[in-house]
């Protein structure tokens, strides 16, 4: 009451106005209210564009808060409904408020030449800047993802559940949509945000939206085979204490961390690397249950192959 829910958009257009022939990129973040990394990316992107506005030759639509009630209340889903907004797409204009919102969002973004959906892991895990791609859309998306200066591109298997995501809905409507995961929930990691902003500027340049100088993007590791990624789960409940750093190369058998019991002063479990690989996801929130995700490793062979260009 006494409040209208509005999803805000900032449209940046060339100084001379639009002709209708410009390319358009949509930058979306905040579908999950506890993921804030995209906030700084939106800010930084606008700052850089405005500083050299004469270099802008396309349309940049920025949506910093798809779930404003969630961001305001530190809630991942949509408050009051406890619904994951990223399981509501493509929505339904005749449905309830949440479905209506989802349908209107898709309607507004449809027609973009590229869309980026920036996520920030959750409060439990820290992620290296990466793009996740449903294998159904890899032909179109992998070349685009390689332009945005991320460290890692993860092509994952198709799953029926994922058909209700924002990215799936747009990709199936021929709007190439890249899902970025980086950093951690409820925090802003400025160096990751800067890295991604460099990448978006580069993508815009490749698309003909930006005529200014951009940095050459780093060459990402691309993983397509499920066996490339190794999941580490807690074997028992306790408090996780890491012994390694994020994005570190590990040898098989190396100690990743311990699960401790503060009540007894005991080490309940030690987690060792089951393979030679690089740790691209690591547990951030210390309290774990049996099964809680501790990290994800990318096999070393994969990294080596990539470097050799195989």
């Amino acid at each position: 009451m006494d409040e209208t829910l509005r999803i805000k958009k900032n449209r940046l257009i060339p100084e001379g106005g639009v002709t209708g022939k410009e390319k358009r990129i949509s930058i979306v973040t905040g579908i999950h209210g506890d993921e804030l990394e995209g906030q700084y990316v939106c800010f930084e992107l606008i700052r850089r564009i405005e500083a050299q506005k004469e270099k802008l030759t396309g349309i940049v639509d920025i949506y910093p808060a798809m779930n404003p009630l969630g961001i305001d209340s530190i809630t991942r889903g949509i408050p009051a409904f406890d619904l994951d907004m990223n399981r509501l797409f493509p929505g339904n204009e005749e449905g309830d408020m949440t479905e209506y919102l989802a349908a209107k969002i898709i309607e507004d973004i449809e027609g973009s030449d590229v869309c980026m959906d920036i996520h920030a892991s959750n409060i439990y895990l820290t992620e290296i800047p990466q793009i996740r791609i449903n294998e159904l859309h890899k032909e179109k998306l992998v070349p685009l993802a390689a332009m945005v200066n991320v460290d890692f591109i993860w092509v994952h298997g198709a799953s029926t559940v994922l058909e209700s995501t924002f990215a799936y809905s747009l990709n199936s409507r021929n709007v190439p949509t890249l899902v970025v995961e980086m950093g951690v929930g409820m925090r802003i990691t400025q160096n990751y945000c800067g890295q991604l902003t460099d990448g978006i500027m580069n993508l815009m340049r490749e698309m003909g939206i930006w005529q200014g100088e951009t940095k050459k993007p780093r060459k990402p590791i691309i993983s397509e085979a499920p066996e490339d990624v190794c999941f580490l789960n807690a074997g028992t409940a306790g408090v996780f204490i890491p012994h390694v750093r994020h994005w570190e190369n590990l040898k098989k058998g190396e100690l990743i961390g311990s699960i401790i019991d503060p009540l007894k002063g005991a080490i309940l479990d030690k987690i060792f690397s089951p393979i030679d690989g690089i740790l691209f996801t690591i547990r951030e929130y210390p309290i774990v249950d049996a099964g809680s995700l501790i990290g994800r490793l990318l096999r070393d062979e994969k990294v080596v192959k990539q470097d050799k260009g195989i």
Partner: protein, 310 residues
């Protein structure tokens, strides 16, 4: 009756997490009934408690058919219920979006796997379910079109309605869907309420389950036959949405017959007390679902109506 622990896992500081099952009779795995999966499904828990009470009496009186086994799981999630949270305490995930589960996966995937292992292979699976929107339902049996659904079987509950609906992407990870994929005839039973106890519809649910089990030769039970169920496709229901937000004052109750043009609810200005909007029925029919919170958002489906069935 035999009480067993179907699944358990340790916690760092809380008592162990346990899922208990109550077995009646011996032999063929005939029927499994499951109560709450979410922590706010108090009515669903209550129905199971009443069912267990009745089955105990019936078993003592020799009313469980020889060679038939019934399993009742009153709560798949006591942890969430004990802290008044709908989803899993640590990470807010929904166990009913994790089936068939994965025993080496994350915590709620492991719980789902453990429960599913214990409750699969039954001929019939009955889940007491709830809806994500706050509201009351006309009691009904709901089933998904998976190719394994059997509407004639669902009618044997003798509930007023059988609702058939097409599964959505997110449904593929629910218990009901997976029961069906593993060739259990699965039904979701909706009574009137979720967070509060409604004894009348709970008694109807217990009666309906026993009637069904009796018709399938699993128990000896002689209650009245119940209703001749009307079969409704969910796409045939009419949603009535609010145009305005405010205080919601219903003028009709679930199950009530209504005429086209009849007032269903008034939306009151929350500051000035004036009627801001009047919601009228677009059809002759029956109130199937009604919002039950004192406030409502705009653009929200507050009623679902069934056309009058001749």
């Amino acid at each position: 009756m035999k009480k067993t622990i179907l699944y358990e896992t340790e916690s760092l500081y809380r008592d162990d997490f346990r899922v208990s099952g109550y077995e009646f009779g011996q032999g063929e795995k005939s029927a499994c009934i499951l109560g709450n999966i979410r922590g706010n499904e108090v009515q669903q828990l209550y129905v199971c408690s009443q069912l267990i009470k009745r089955l105990k009496e019936m078993e003592a009186a020799g009313k469980i058919t020889e060679g038939r086994r019934i399993m009742v799981v009153p709560s798949a999630n006591p942890y969430s219920m004990n802290i008044g949270k709908r989803f899993w305490p640590t990470d807010n995930t929904d166990i009913n979006r994790m089936f068939p589960g994965y025993d080496k996966g994350e915590t709620t995937q492991r719980i789902a796997a453990g429960i599913f292992e214990a409750i699969q292979g039954y001929r019939f699976g009955i889940q007491l379910s709830s809806f994500y929107m706050p509201g009351n339902f006309t009691p009904h049996v709901r089933m998904m079109k998976t190719g394994f659904e059997d509407v004639e079987l669902a009618k044997k509950f003798g509930m007023p309605y059988v609702v058939v609906r097409n599964p959505r992407p997110y449904d593929t990870t629910t218990l009901n869907y997976n029961w069906q994929i593993w060739e259990t005839h699965a039904f979701s039973l909706y009574t009137t309420t979720t967070v509060s106890i409604d004894k009348e519809s709970a008694a109807m649910a217990v009666h309906s389950i026993l009637t069904f089990l009796s018709k399938e030769g699993i128990v000896g039970y002689h209650g009245h036959e119940g209703y001749i169920s009307h079969v409704v496709q969910d796409t045939d229901m009419v949603s009535v949405r609010t145009g305005e937000s405010g205080i919601f004052e219903a003028a009709v109750a679930v199950g009530e017959e209504i005429l086209k043009g009849q007032i269903l609810a008034r939306i009151i200005d929350p500051y000035e007390g004036e009627v801001k909007a009047i919601l009228k029925s677009p059809v002759d029919g029956i109130v199937f679902f009604a919002h039950n919170e004192p406030l409502t958002y705009a653009d929200t489906a507050v009623f679902k109506l069934i056309f009058r069935l001749e």
